[in-house]
């Protein structure tokens, strides 16, 4: 490697908002008061919140400096496993900020909202086509709310058949949110173990599946980056006992145009538009977690439904079997819009290519690093691969140390210590938008770090060295929480 990606540059310290400013400043062009004052009852009037008074320049410098302490996908490679940190096209941001969309009130009559309704209607169609399912709702605000929606649909379906079941099967390679989403819907998650190939065998499912089990929540491809090859058999077992198959589709980026969930026994699944469909992650949201279902579950989808009649679009509230509403309005429209633009600019062939390249990149990293890092499941992976720190145990170097050292090389670390089935897991998801050169640099960085682990382990234990701050004291943060200044 000629020169490290990671370097140091001048960034500025910046105090907290309320440590700056001066009473009497304002960073807002206040409108003119054009009506007579009409004082509110003093009994109801407060003193006003204790906010600092800042000028517009104060505010702009503050957030510009803060932003420079962040590493984003636009800064560099961000191969956070399970999160699909792919490039966020800039044209999508432009479209979402068109005044016709950003200024649209959600309760306007349908006749005055045709543009938004058409986008949502068509996006539902695209997502059902990509998944091979029959219908979709865009209402869930994030993947986890999509999971909850899916569980509520499963619950409603069982109830409509006069049955009430108490359990749900959740494999150890499922996403972390699954058990709590199921529990929120009153289901008791029953854990099942994946086999020595890292996937679920039909036998373990048939051992636990019974008539008190509402179904299974399976992540496919799973969190080890492996396709659940026995999905058809598993679905048969679950269906034969009157259960439903929920698929966590957060990893859909691996199989667009390749596998169709609707044809392999999946009854309901969520997608994460902020993963597969390129909408930005925003430092932790907003996301969007649409849910796609097979015909049987359609009557239960949240209201309102978007319907089309003679070329006009409308919101339909009249669905007596619906589970109701997941949030006040229709979901994160601003996010859906970007996913819609993504699908329209990619088209069917490029979506398939995206999945192919995502899988190619992950397998390439797996092959290039498997002699360097321990690879617990050495078989073809999907869009992500999972290593561990087992080879570094003799050097007393952990996954955390290597992750922190990667920052000095100018990369965001992969997901670490997840999935739990692999001790010291290092979960790498490069996505299709990384070039071979960047991936090669990442591989070289990892090799150099593993070498450092042998020869200069303290370099890793003290890492990172080039960030704004060094390792932070998370113990004191949790013991004596300081959540507000």
């Amino acid at each position: 490697m000629t020169e490290l990606m990671g370097t140091t540059g001048l960034i500025l310290n910046e105090p907290l908002l309320w440590e700056k400013g001066k009473k009497g400043r304002c960073g807002f062009s206040l409108p003119k008061q054009d009506v007579e004052p009409s004082p509110l009852d003093p009994e109801l009037t407060g003193e006003g919140p204790d906010f600092p008074d800042l000028s517009e320049v104060d505010v702009v410098r503050h957030y510009t400096r803060l932003s420079q302490w962040n590493f984003g996908l636009d800064t560099g490679m961000y191969p956070l496993g399970s999160c699909t940190m792919k490039y966020n096209p800039k044209t999508n941001e432009r479209q979402a900020s068109l005044p016709g969309f950003s200024g649209a009130h959600p309760l306007l009559p349908d006749t005055l909202s045709q543009g938004a309704l058409r986008i949502m209607f068509e996006l539902e169609q695209y997502l059902t086509e990509i998944t091979g399912m029959d219908a979709a709702t865009l209402q869930p605000a994030a993947g986890a709310q999509g999971e909850l929606t899916g569980m509520l649909l499963v619950y409603a379906w069982h109830q409509s058949r006069g049955s009430r079941r108490s359990k749900i099967i959740v494999p150890d390679t499922a996403h972390g949110t699954n058990p709590s989403s199921a529990a929120l819907c009153g289901y008791r998650p029953v854990a099942v173990k994946s086999n020595d190939k890292g996937i679920l065998s039909a036998e373990v499912v048939s051992e636990v599946m019974d008539e008190d089990t509402a179904g299974i929540m399976i992540t496919n491809p799973n969190t080890l980056g492996l396709f659940e090859e026995n999905i058809l058999e598993i679905a048969d077992i679950v269906h034969s006992m009157g259960g439903l198959v929920y698929c966590d589709g957060a990893n859909m980026n691996a199989v667009m145009g390749v596998a169709q969930m609707g044809k392999i026994g999946v009854d309901v699944m969520q997608l994460n538009l902020h993963k597969t469909f390129s909408t930005p992650h925003g430092g932790g949201g907003p996301g969007s977690g649409p849910v796609c279902v097979k015909k049987d579950l359609e009557p239960f989808l949240p209201v309102p439904r978007i319907v089309q009649k003679e070329g006009r679009y409308a919101l339909d509230e009249n669905r007596p079997d619906s589970i109701g509403k997941l949030q006040a309005f229709y979901g994160n429209f601003g996010v859906m819009l970007k996913a819609y633009c993504y699908i329209r600019t990619m088209g069917p062939e490029n979506l398939k290519k995206a999945s192919q390249f995502a899988v190619l990149n992950a397998n390439y990293i797996k092959e290039m690093l498997k002699d360097t890092l321990h690879l617990p499941f050495d078989r073809p992976c999907m869009h992500e691969c999972v290593f561990s720190d087992k080879n570094q145990t003799p050097d007393h170097i952990t996954t955390l140390d290597m992750a922190k050292r990667l920052m000095d090389y100018g990369f965001h670390p992969p997901t670490i210590y997840f999935p739990l089935v692999v001790q010291g897991a290092i979960m790498v998801e490069p996505t299709e938008t990384e070039s071979k050169e960047d991936i090669d640099r990442y591989i070289e960085a990892f090799k150099a770090i593993v070498d450092e682990a042998k020869h200069d382990p303290d370099l890793l234990r003290q890492a990172p060295h080039k960030c704004k701050v060094r390792r932070l004291d998370e113990t004191t943060a949790a013991r004596k929480p300081c959540l507000a200044g």
Binding site: P37, T45, F51, S181, G284, M346, M407
Partner: protein, 450 residues
């Protein structure tokens, strides 16, 4: 495709490393009967320039300001958003990062969220606030679940003047767990009737909204006392966060959990989402809060820094016993709100809130003077209910054609209130526009009377 960097040469050399002949070979672990045999049936790709035309065409089919004059709020409010906020919020270091799992390279997001938590807590008069939730409806629902968890009780009393769509959300979440939701009726003055609370046992929380769905400011003192008498949590909620620039905050009335919608704080309407769910409470309940929290700490050299904290409450650690399943939340919206609160400052938010109130009062007085009935006499903030004469739908349609949106009909939610409309006036409406609305209403009104 310009988002996909691989050249044919790259693909060839990488396939060789992987040991596959073709891209299709990469999917060998997917059983044949799971494969999609045909191509996806989706529209052909658009160029960036074609997309611009397509999207501009669609956006023109939307009724928005400044062409349309909205007098509609009901949970989603049109407010001015300074260019500085849209500009700062577009910085890709904020937009293209994820949940700050690696604090050393996420201090920007972390400090900004910590500042948001602080300003949110100050706005609501509470000690701590969460990093963000999806929207006001889910924030209220999660607050009620939190009260249920802490008290170990299974019933909540919810004012019928809480936003109807919020109440629907609560019912959706509560359906499988069987928690009982009791709706409290409303009084003639447009506030919640607390009479039924006395009869209820096993009560985990009493929730109201202030200003409520009719725009009326609730007597939070009384609600708080009643809730606490029953040993229940007092949970005041809101849809218009800007109101607390002027009104006494929920904390000053002894709120246990204050929650609601922060869209007014610098977040575009965007057809209802993304928005900003806000939850705040006091320190003694912080370990029971749902959602992400950022805390202040120090690094190895003793410098101030910030981390995600109290993670043991969350889904990835506490699994099915977690305080919530939330993972991705609405972080960027919280950042917008922090930027907005910082831009206004104490002086600015006070003035802006006052203008909202005064303008709404002006329109109210003009409507009264024109003979329209204002059915609820409780003080309001920037929304209020007007009773229009029967047959008003025609006037409504006519005003829509003139690009004026004269509020929201509330009879679909309150069938007993036929011809009642909820009107909203924010700082974005001028006196002239209000006068034009009144003129438009009175012309037809006099015709109807004739």
């Amino acid at each position: 495709m310009h988002y996909l960097p691989h050249t044919a040469e790259d693909i060839g050399s990488m396939l060789r490393v992987v040991g596959a002949d073709t891209l299709d070979d990469l999917f060998s672990t997917i059983p044949d009967d799971c494969r999609l045999k045909a191509d996806l049936d989706l529209p052909d790709p658009l160029t960036e320039w074609e997309l611009n035309n397509h999207m501009e065409g669609l956006s023109c089919q939307m009724a928005v300001a400044p062409e349309y004059k909205l007098f509609m709020g009901a949970g989603s409010y049109e407010h001015f958003i300074p260019a500085s906020i849209s500009y700062l919020l577009g910085r890709s270091e904020f937009v293209t990062s994820y949940t700050p799992y690696q604090p050393e390279m996420s201090q920007g997001t972390l400090q900004a969220v910590y500042e948001y938590q602080t300003l949110a807590a100050r706005l609501l008069g509470m000690e701590v606030a969460t990093a963000s939730h999806y929207d006001g409806a889910t924030a209220l629902t999660e607050s009620l679940l939190m009260a249920i968890r802490i008290t170990g009780r299974k019933r909540v009393a919810v004012s019928s003047l809480i936003h109807p769509l919020y109440r629907k959300t609560i019912r959706t979440y509560f359906e499988p767990s069987g928690y009982d939701v009791v709706e409290l009726p409303y009084l003639e003055n447009g506030t919640t009737d607390l009479g039924r609370v006395d009869e209820l046992d096993d009560l985990a929380a009493v929730a109201v909204q202030s200003p409520n769905f009719f725009g009326c400011i609730e007597d939070l003192q009384k609600v708080g006392e009643k809730a606490h008498e029953k040993g229940a949590f007092f949970v005041p909620s809101f849809t218009e966060a800007l109101a607390y620039g002027l009104l006494k905050n929920p904390g000053s009335y002894g709120a246990d959990i204050a929650c609601g919608e922060g869209q007014s704080l610098g977040i575009p309407l965007s057809y209802g989402g993304p928005a900003l769910g806000m939850i705040a409470t006091n320190k003694k309940y912080m370990r029971k809060l749902p959602g992400r929290l950022v805390g202040q700490t120090k690094d190895l050299d003793g410098r101030r820094g910030f981390v995600l904290t109290l993670a043991t409450r969350e889904q990835h650690i506490r699994r099915e016993k977690a305080t919530s399943n939330i993972c991705t939340n609405n972080s960027l919206c919280a950042l917008a709100a922090a930027m907005y609160m910082a831009s206004l400052g104490r002086t600015g938010i006070r003035e802006l809130a006052r203008q909202n109130h005064d303008k709404a009062e002006y329109l109210k007085s003009q409507l009264k003077a024109s003979g329209f009935n204002i059915p609820f006499d409780r003080p309001t903030f920037n929304e209020f209910v007007v009773e229009f004469p029967p047959g008003f739908e025609k006037t409504y349609e006519r005003l829509l054609k003139k690009k004026i949106v004269p509020g929201l009909s509330i009879s679909p939610f309150y069938p007993e209130l036929a011809n009642h409309y909820l009107l909203c006036v924010t700082e974005t409406r001028s006196k002239e526009e209000m006068d034009e609305l009144v003129r438009g209403l009175t012309i037809d009104n006099s015709k109807l009377r004739d």
